[in-house]
Amino acid sequence: MPKRAREIENPWIHGGLAVIVACLLLLLSFQVPLIRHAVDGVSLLLRIPEYPALYLRSRTIRFYGWIESGEELQRRMEALEKENLLLRTSLARYTLYRNDQDASSTSLSSEVLSARVLARHPAGWWDEIKIDAGSAQKVVPGCPVLHKGILVGRVHQVSRFDAWVRLVTSRNFSIPVTVEDTRDLGVLTGNGEGEVLLQYIPEERVLPLHSSVVTALLDESFPPGIPVGLLGERRAAFGGFRSYTILPGAPLSRLYRVQVMIGGKTQ
């Protein structure tokens, strides 16, 4: 083979040329609008052979979307059913409690008011939240505040259109509660650091873990039977009494909307 022909057949020459053309194209693709038209043209042209794949892909995506939306709807329905059940239970217990009270001394109306959380200061993150319901909506100090039927705090300061709610995690929060399974009574309070505690349980009593803790009948301002959470770990005894942690039933660090139970006898 002649030398010139061999050179033409040399892959290095062709490879080098191809790379140079590729680099030129790459440079042009940043600057020449015609390249963009070429890209669009290729996409348009390939649309025909790609059609079955594109069609199948869109169908698959739609199918998965349909499954996911179904699951999402199912989850939401379950959450709403649970919330509905809790509210019904709370309402029934509240009504029962209300009937036992002296009608003349108690303002009775079992309304549940929905309120939005307006503010939560970082310095008092576990102490209080501000909600957009106030005395104009019949909110008074002492009203229980719930999240999906679970107690999260109580109103302690009310303005005309807003109110401050003291959370169950606050050191200054304290209400009587009962352990549903054993009927043991104790005092629920917070430690100001995100924990909720059940205090004043006699040292010799051993309570079953994960028992439901609900508000007790002892306090006039709180209807009995409002769920608070589940019994958590046992703490060391002190002075003949022991405390337990409570695993709150409500997401206390993610409160955006709450329900306020208005009416009833408040402090």
């Binding site: 033409i8 057949e9 040399n10 892959p11 290095w12 020459i13 062709h14 490879g15 080098g16 191809a18 790379v19 053309v21 590729a22 680099c23 030129l24 194209l25 790459l26 440079l27 042009l28 693709s29 390249i35 070429a38 890209v39 290729v42 996409s43 390939l46 052979p49 790609e50 794949a53 594109l54 199948l56 892909r57 698959t60």
Partner: protein, 154 residues
């Protein structure tokens, strides 16, 4: 040539399905290597074919015309040189598989670095490409050496 067309199309289809999750395995380059190793086609023509396939790929997917074309051309040239300089005894299934896999990894890395923003998810695209590409590369190797054992004709 039909192999190149077919595998380019298959690569395109895989990219359509895996657009959000992976880079499609480089089947087209595998087809070019397969034809080069067959000895029936002239290598310069195949180098330009790889360039053309790369241009089409860039026009369809990356938008950076020349990126894939240049990479394919360089790798095809290296393969041509490597395959031509190798003695007959060395041209076996294992060598072909290793070279194709190496090129596949190189293109994957180039795509990861140039096409996507540099973050953890990018490497998942790369890893998925390699994971999906491995059996396909093996199948191309089998097609290139249908009767041979791993180290040559048996």
């Amino acid at each position: 040539m039909k192999w190149c067309l077919l595998l380019w199309y298959l690569q395109d289809v895989l990219q359509i399905f895996g657009e959000d999750y992976l880079f499609a395995p480089e089947l087209f380059l595998g087809a070019v290597f397969l034809l080069m190793s067959s000895g029936k086609y002239d290598h310069p023509g195949l180098i330009w074919l790889s360039f053309l396939g790369g241009v089409l790929w860039d026009a369809r997917w990356t938008g950076l015309i020349g990126m894939t074309a240049g990479t394919y051309s360089v790798l095809a040239t290296f393969f041509s040189f490597f395959w031509s300089s190798m003695p007959d005894t060395g041209r076996n299934k294992l060598t072909f598989f290793t070279f194709l896999l190496g090129c596949h990894i190189i293109i994957g890395v180039i795509r990861s670095v140039l096409v996507l923003p540099f973050q953890d998810a990018t490497w998942m695209f790369f890893l998925r490409q390699q994971a999906l590409g491995l059996p396909l590369i093996y199948m191309i190797t089998r097609a290139a050496f249908p009767r041979d054992g791993m180290y040559g004709a048996s």
